[in-house]
């Protein structure tokens, strides 16, 4: 497919500018951005490897869109540096002068949430907007083919469905052979079924063309399932950056654990590689975390190895038994370390088809936290049913400071 070839050239070009051995397409250091007196980004660092799709994940209002707008050049950074393909586009350059490359010279493909197609132009004219007129014809046909909309060039944006509009917006962004494609919650306005399809298509198109992508989203599901790397944006900084599974398995702190999927955060007491909780004595997991700023951040040796701690137990790490039944939890790895049994009763039962999420109140008195359990299939449980829980390690624990 010729789109792949053309975009492949782009990717190589980006790599060449970067110099030998450097695979970073986009790099941000110490980025500050404030509006009036409200600080939005406070010294953010981010590295996006060439050819990857990196998701910026954060709740609404966390500054995701501001970051994207600074990358695109619509906003100017208050401080810090943005480098694309080895060239400083915002911030002090090598000779000390302040640089701000205007958006039209950055070669960034921007796909906003609403698509922002030009309503007065046909689909073909939209896709060809950024190309010199003599090169439009064949390129536009190719791009429409690539995004799965051949033959729709003569339509106007309002004659397209939401998903089609997003594909056109992507084709328009890819037309200029961008160094980086910025996707600002591009799937948020689509309904659930369509969203999954368009998401998968976009992922495939970007991967095929080898284009570097930055996807901004507040949907952790979307981030985990679409991106190669996920950067959690919090308080104007990247709180953690990791591959999706790493992020889920070893979140950097309790807040991130809660933000990425369901989490039981219970109190415990650390003691030499294990932790004592209401679910018994569980093994504590070891890991080293890589940050998106490049340097690996290892477990801090100076932290206390004993004493009170907050413990993360994922709902699928808890097995649930009813009277006279086998465990209905997810299959556990052989080397897991089961804790003690905990009895309780069901307070809420949420059925999701592929699994069920059950909230259990332990019989330990009113102060005991409700435990969330995820089971596969299993039987219908009504509130009040007596159950037994058993957790399997290893678990994560954060000592109290």
């Amino acid at each position: 497919m010729s789109l792949m070839t053309r975009a492949g050239i782009t990717a190589r070009r980006g790599g060449r500018q970067c110099g030998d051995g450097c695979m970073t397409q986009l790099s941000v250091t110490g980025l500050h951005k404030a509006f009036a007196d409200h600080a939005v980004l406070t010294g953010l660092d981010l590295e996006v490897p060439a050819g990857s799709l990196t998701a910026i994940l954060g709740p609404s209002g966390s500054g995701k869109t501001t970051l994207l707008r600074v990358l695109a050049g619509f906003e100017r950074a208050d401080a810090g540096t943005v480098t694309m393909g080895g060239r400083v586009v915002d911030g002090p350059s090598a000779n000390g002068r302040s640089v701000h490359v205007p958006p039209e010279q950055r070669r960034i493909g921007y796909v906003p949430q609403e698509g922002s197609l030009f309503p007065h132009l046909t689909v073909a004219a939209n896709v060809g907007f950024g190309l010199p007129s003599r090169r439009r014809g064949p390129a536009v046909a190719e791009l429409l083919e690539a995004v799965g909309l051949p033959g729709l060039g003569k339509r106007y944006p309002h004659q397209l469905s939401g998903g089609q509009q997003q594909r056109v917006a992507l084709a328009r962004a890819l037309a200029i052979q961008p160094q980086v494609v910025l996707l600002d919650e591009p799937f948020a306005s689509l309904d659930a079924h369509l969203r999954a399809n368009v998401r998968a298509d976009v992922q495939a198109i970007l991967a095929q063309s080898g284009t570097t992508g930055v996807l901004v989203t507040h949907d952790q599901d979307e981030a985990l399932s679409t991106a190669d790397r996920v950067a959690v944006l919090r308080g104007g900084l990247i709180a953690q950056c990791a591959a999706p599974q790493e992020l889920y398995d070893t979140p950097a702190d309790a807040d991130i654990a809660r933000f990425i999927g369901d989490a039981n955060l219970i109190e415990g007491v650390l003691d030499e590689g294990t932790v004592d909780t209401i679910l018994g004595r569980l093994r504590v997991q070891t890991s080293a975390l890589a940050s998106c700023a490049g340097a690996a951040v290892s477990a801090d040796a100076a932290l206390p190895t004993s004493g009170p701690a907050t413990v993360l137990v994922r709902p699928e790490q808890v097995e649930l038994h009813t009277e006279g039944s086998e465990g209905t939890g997810l299959p556990q790895p052989a080397d897991s370390h089961p804790g003690a049994e905990l009895t309780g009763h069901v307070v809420a039962y949420g059925y999701h088809g592929h699994d069920a999420v059950i909230h259990v109140r332990p019989e330990l008195g009113p102060d005991a936290p409700t435990i969330i359990v995820r089971t596969v299939g299993g039987h219908q449980l009504s509130p009040g049913s007596a159950v037994t829980l058993r957790a399997r390690g290893p678990v994560l624990a954060w000592p109290h400071q």
């Binding site: 404030a34 619509f74 401080a79 309503p119 950024g130 504590v284 997991q285 700023a293």
Partner: protein
Amino acid sequence: MTSPTVTTAPPATTGRVAVRARRPRLPAALTATSLLIAGVLALPLVFLLIEAHGAGTTEVVRLIFRRLTADLLWNTVRLTVVVTVLCAIIGTAAAWCVERTTLPGRRVWAVLVVVPLAIPDFVVSFGWASLWTWVQGFRGAVVVMTLAVYPLVYLPVAASLRSADPGQEEVARSLGAGRVRTFVRVTLAQARGAILGGCLLVALVLLAEYGAFEILGYQTFTTEIFSEFSVSFSVPAACALSLVLVLLSLLVLGGEGMLRGRGRVARSGPQVPRQLPRRRLGRATVPVLAGFGLLTALALGVPVGASVYWIFEGGAHAVSGESLPSAALHTGVYAAAAGLLDTAAALPVALLAVRYSGRMRHLLERSTYLVLAMPGVVAAFALSYFSERYAGGFLYQSTPLLVVCYSIMFFPLALTGVKASLARAPASLDEMARSLGQRRLAVLTRVTLRLAGPGLAAAFCLVFLSVVTELTATLLLIPTGVQTLATQFWAYETNLSYGQAAPFALVMIAVAAVPSYVLGRFFDRRRT
């Protein structure tokens, strides 16, 4: 111990960088142009103050605090209050019937109810007063002005009812509020801003009206300023009364701002273009239809009918004047010039208002408010006297001065239209175009102006329409020996040559109706 922990403290870079907190920068050229325009807009007021100063402060104070001022104040205020209230009732009721009920022939009524806007107030006044002698004084002024200006309430209220969130009414009903309670607490509350906005326009028109009141023999500030200046040549008196009139207009503006400020219409959720099921009129159909028929007959039928009647019955008069085509040409040229000038001038100000925020934007919006508070007679008087007395006759009674005066008077209209049109060309599309490699100028021509085009045409039409039906400032500033449709009509009318005046009235209506139709089409497209 192996608890994985990552600190979220900012990286070491924060220490060395000085953070430049930056506001979104206003483009210098845009700001400078806008300031220049604001300066020109403020000219009449500045001139007025200079002239008042020249006339002597004690003299002006003496002229303000006398019996005549009190009489004029009473006349002006009571008429403004009564007509504004009547217009609010008629305009809102008509809008509700057309937009929310099963009224037969809604589409036709929607047009007929608005057409009176294209008929100059002084033509409505002429139509009534030339047919019936009882139409004069306060009573006549109430009838004529209500029929002439109620569309100013109808239009915004109809638009607001059309776009209001239908869910709110349904929720109110489900919460146990009856029909009447729902209408008052939800429907009217939703349309409140529109009703107030319409009333503001009505009040400002009444404060500025000259021709209609002159025909009816009803004395207000505007008619008195006009005669003090052009008949008695008493500049200090005209100055003093102008100051009071401007103050009165500012009070109206301030009052509207205060009332509007308290209530805000919030709308949450997706903007689904859903319509409420229309209320069935049932047995009320016939009376409501009769009401619409009567309104159309009075507001549209009488002025048009009277003009046609006088063409046939007016007989031959010996009064001579400019020919119809020549007057129409002058009117068209002036109106087109003012329309172009205003649309072009409103563009930078509207760009600032729509795309940027901050103190500068606020200042500019305030300065357009000042223009609203300046009735045409005051603007014309200030410009004309200043050019004659202080500028050595520079541009005095010249075409440029007249066009500039029109442009100042109708700038707020153009600004409204241009702002609405720029809202159709959101900044996000500009940014999109820039990220696709287009420079600022290319973005302007390939995206912004293409999208804003229809709205700019609407702004032009709005100004064009207003200039065609303008009389007061035209009479004061028109170059010697030139006549427009309005002034020639006026010359015949004051000579009681109704037969010769009537064709000018009809042509004015026809000329003004074209841009009205274009405007209607433009605002109607928003439905979809």
